[in-house]
């Protein structure tokens, strides 16, 4: 076990754990936006920044990536940390004025919108947390969506923002999207996501439309389970 101190509290954590995991396991809350337990941490949002002290040297690191070290002293609410956190929240509120989650976290942290920033109108609710792209690549394994452009123009979507032939319509991206920017609609026997219409398969037992046919075909191909077996919904299996 590794011994460290977070916010004056002595803590033991397993080797290889991140500061964020160690803190949360010990009831110390650090706000996050781009972090997800099942995905590789990217450190993109910087909201989980903390100040660490090793010997005499202090520096700011992202707690979702930085691994615990023996004797590490961590401050999750130092002045420098709060300055980064405030900046990140104010920047995201200006980028996505409609993203309720960001406003809620800001309220909890006591951060007001920065009136000097002119709010964007063209970014929707996308804060570029990357979870959708990562879940599609790391969990689903199809990489149907990715990033295009860079800097403030960076955006998420299928290649060339045209409907993707690789997408299986599983909806994992919409599920992990923390702000509700990615929308998925069920209409009749269709599911519509990323401007593509997917035909939904009906459960052979109960008749419920439970998954897109393309998704079941993909699972069948990758697992070797026959398509016919998969067309029975989980409840009826």
């Amino acid at each position: 076990m590794i011994n460290l101190v977070i916010d004056d509290k002595k803590i033991q954590a397993e080797e290889g754990a991140t500061i964020l995991q160690a803190a949360r396991n010990n009831g110390i809350e650090i706000p996050t936006l781009c972090y997800h337990d099942e995905l590789t941490a990217s450190g993109a949002c910087r909201l989980c920044s903390v100040e660490i002290k090793k010997g005499k040297r202090t520096r700011i690191v992202t707690s979702c990536i930085y691994q615990v070290e023996e004797g590490l002293v961590v401050n999750t609410r130092s002045e420098r940390v709060l300055n980064v956190r405030r900046l990140v929240l104010q920047l995201l509120m200006a980028r996505c004025p409609g993203a309720e989650l960001v406003r809620e976290i800001a309220e909890k942290e006591g951060v007001e919108p920065q009136t000097r920033f002119h709010p964007d109108e063209d970014k929707g609710k996308c804060i570029l947390c990357r979870k959708c792209v990562e879940v599609c690549e790391q969990v689903v394994g199809v990489s149907a969506i990715g990033f295009s452009y860079r800097g403030a123009e960076k955006m998420v979507g299928p290649p060339f923002m045209e409907s993707s032939q690789t997408c299986i319509g599983c909806g994992a991206c919409a599920y992990v999207c923390p702000t509700g920017h990615i929308t998925m609609e069920e209409r009749g026997d269709e599911r519509i996501i990323w401007d593509r219409h997917f035909k939904m398969a009906k459960c052979t037992v109960c008749g419920k439309k439970f998954a897109p046919e393309d998704q079941l075909k993909y699972i069948s191909e990758t697992t070797g389970v026959s398509y016919d077996t998969l067309t029975t919904c989980v409840d009826c299996r």
């Binding site: 990217s42 450190g43 993109a44 949002c45 910087r46 909201l47 920044s49 700011i60 690191v61 992202t62 990536i65 930085y66 691994q67 420098r80 300055n83 980064v84 405030r86 900046l87 990140v88 920047l91 995201l92 200006a94 980028r95 920065q114 000097r116 920033f117 002119h118 804060i127 570029l128 990357r130 990715g146 990033f147 452009y149 860079r150 800097g151 403030a152 123009e153 960076k154």
Partner: protein, 616 residues
């Protein structure tokens, strides 16, 4: 023909050196990108044709060489052995240069360089003030070799350091030598190269990679380009020695595709190196094998950042990752990787050849050797200059650079590229090295040096660099993607008369947030231009915000041009150049500018010989 031993190599080198007569006249024409733009290629052809026509092939050599550095004077021609220096040489001059100068020793006055201040004509290259104070250890070889000729490089002792390393030095010994020389990375960070090599060598995992970072992207900086174009073998030799020391068999040169001549010359160099057995399997019979692949980058500034560069080579989007685990442990393909920039690699053969003690004797306590700077801006002599560490900024700007253009007043020098800082006059006598530059809020960076005069607005400068970085931000992390753009918007407001009280303090707190919060060095240094201009030129910010005035007369929304009726002679020069045709007045009578139609381009100010145009 493949060389199979270091003895065989040394014999070949001696044979080449002996076959060359140092007294034989040789016309060297700079064929760097700058001089090619001036028509150097055609000039070389013309010289060749003239030599052939006169049947002088046996008597005169002609060589198109790498960049000499004095780019604004191109095409540059140096005639050996005396090194007579001609500039702005045209096609019509070729025959006369051969007949008069090469054959009869007569100097052509019209092609000589004249000192911009004294007007004195200078005959020999070594006497030109631009070169005189330089120490061209790394860059100087460019002028003596044809970059596409391996034989030329061998003739000046090239690959001698590699033979020396393979012949008697253990890999650890090579690392010790580089450590002792205290060679620090020339790409920006200034990290000690020897230590990096050591970490990579000792890291677990195979294969190990060495990479040459040639993704040079700072506006106005082109020293790496000129080295790769002008002396590619020196970079290859450094990499091969490094790979031997580290224990790597595979190297990459990551060069931007916008550098076609660099790509071409390095490709030729690699091929010729392979043919001779300097690259590939069992190099010079030593049992050590190493090869190099060229990767052409798409030109993203951020791909100069090591982890983004790895991602780009791997075929992924060029985005950095957090570097809590160093590239020396997990770099390219998650394997131990040593990345150094072009200039760093080119220093390695010098250190191995002449020894760490010699190298240590040049420079300051913690910065050894020389550094190549790209000296540009409002200065008389612009180009690439190589100076020993520890030279003062004043010496570079006044002695090598020949002072400020048109005798104007110096205001600041910006070093370190877009992430560097602006240094005011009070620090001109500061010694240039890694630590001193960082101490005063700027940095060495890859070696950009932009000189600014009193007609430069420092708020506008900060805005310019932020705009560059905003466009080059990869967009992965919030502080850089969103923060840099919001800071630029505030600077836009200040420059356009919408600045508010408290803006400077907001910029300061945002700067700190971006420094602390950004994921990679592009973001964490992006605030430097803002921080340093606020620190040293706060009064300019205040003038913009409080008085709605731009003291340097640059920000269009805050200035107006008028004509001083007492000084105006009515010569009509300003009215003729005015693109908006808004200056009126009778001949020999004071003129007037129509403020409604004036586009504030400043053409009248630049044209007036009587100082009658005023900016307020």
């Amino acid at each position: 023909m493949k060389i199979k031993s270091t003895e065989e190599f040394k014999a070949l080198q001696t044979q080449i050196s002996n076959s060359r007569d140092p007294e034989k006249p040789c016309i060297t024409v700079c064929a760097g990108t700058g001089c090619i733009a001036y028509g150097a290629d055609k000039l070389v052809d013309k010289f060749k044709a003239e030599i052939e026509e006169a049947g002088l092939q046996e008597k005169i050599d002609i060589r198109s060489t790498g960049c000499h550095g004095f780019c604004e004077q191109g095409p540059v021609v140096v005639i050996h052995p005396k090194k007579i220096f001609y500039r702005r040489v045209g096609l019509d001059d070729a025959a006369e240069v051969i007949q008069k100068t090469v054959l009869n020793g007569e100097v052509l006055d019209r092609l000589l360089y004249a000192d911009p201040i004294s007007g004195e004509k200078i005959t020999y290259e070594d006497d030109v003030p631009f070169y005189k104070k330089q120490m061209r250890l790394v860059f100087g070889m460019n002028g003596n070799i044809d970059p596409t000729s391996l034989e030329d490089y061998l003739a000046i002792g090239g690959y001698g350091a590699l033979a020396k390393a393979l012949d008697g030095m253990k890999p650890e010994g090579v690392i010790e030598e580089v450590k002792k020389a205290n060679l620090r990375g020339r790409g920006g960070g200034g990290f000690p190269a020897g230590w990096k090599w050591d970490s990579t060598r000792n890291a677990e995992g195979t294969p190990k990679y060495v990479i040459c970072n040639a993704d040079e992207g700072d506006p106005g900086a082109y020293m790496d380009r000129s080295l790769l174009e002008g002396n590619p073998h020196s970079v290859l030799e450094g990499m091969i020695i490094g790979a031997y020391a580290i224990g790597s068999n595979q190297g990459y040169i990551y060069v931007r595709n916008e550098y076609p001549l660099a790509v071409k010359n390095v490709s030729i160099a690699i091929e010729k190196g392979r043919d001779l057995g300097l690259l590939g399997d069992n190099i010079l019979g030593s049992g050590f094998s190493f090869d190099i692949t060229i990767i052409r980058g798409g030109g993203a500034f951020v791909c100069g950042e090591s982890s983004a560069l790895f991602a780009s080579i791997e075929g992924r989007v060029g985005e950095p990752r957090a570097k809590y685990i160093h590239g020396t442990d997990k770099g390219l393909y998650d394997k131990p990787t040593n990345l150094n920039n072009v200039e760093t690699w080119a220093n390695v053969p010098l250190i191995i050849n002449k020894g760490a003690d010699w190298y240590q004797s040049i420079g300051t306590e913690n910065s050894k050797g020389t550094k190549i700077f790209s000296l540009v801006g409002k200065i008389n002599n612009t180009g690439l200059v190589e100076i020993p560490m520890g030279m003062t900024l004043r010496e570079v700007i006044e002695d090598i650079g020949g002072g400020i253009l048109k005798g104007r007043k110096f205001k600041a020098v910006q070093t370190g590229g877009p992430s560097g800082g602006c240094i005011p006059e009070e620090f001109l006598d500061m010694k240039i090295d890694f630590d001193e530059l960082t101490e005063i809020g700027s940095m060495m960076g890859s070696g950009g040096m932009i000189v600014m005069d009193d007609r430069t607005c420092m708020v506008d400068v900060a805005r310019y660099f932020l705009k560059f970085l905003e466009g080059e931000s990869c967009g992965k992390c919030v502080p850089c993607r969103e923060g840099v753009r919001r800071m630029r918007e505030i600077l836009d407001d200040i420059c356009e008369g919408r600045g508010r009280e408290g803006d400077v303090e907001l910029l300061e707190s945002m700067s700190q947030g971006v420094i602390d919060g950004a994921l990679c060095a592009l973001g964490s240094t992006a605030s430097n231009p803002v921080m340093s201009t606020i620190k040293y030129f706060r009064n300019e910010y205040d003038a913009h915000i409080r008085d709605k005035k731009c003291p340097a007369g640059v920000c269009k929304e805050l200035i107006r041009y008028t004509i001083d009726a007492e000084k105006c002679t009515g010569c009509r020069a300003c009215a003729r150049v005015c693109p908006a045709e808004c200056i009126s007045g009778e001949k020999k009578q004071p003129h007037v500018i129509d403020q409604e139609r004036c586009v504030k381009c400043g053409s009248c100010l630049d044209t007036c010989k009587f100082d009658a145009v005023l900016v307020e």
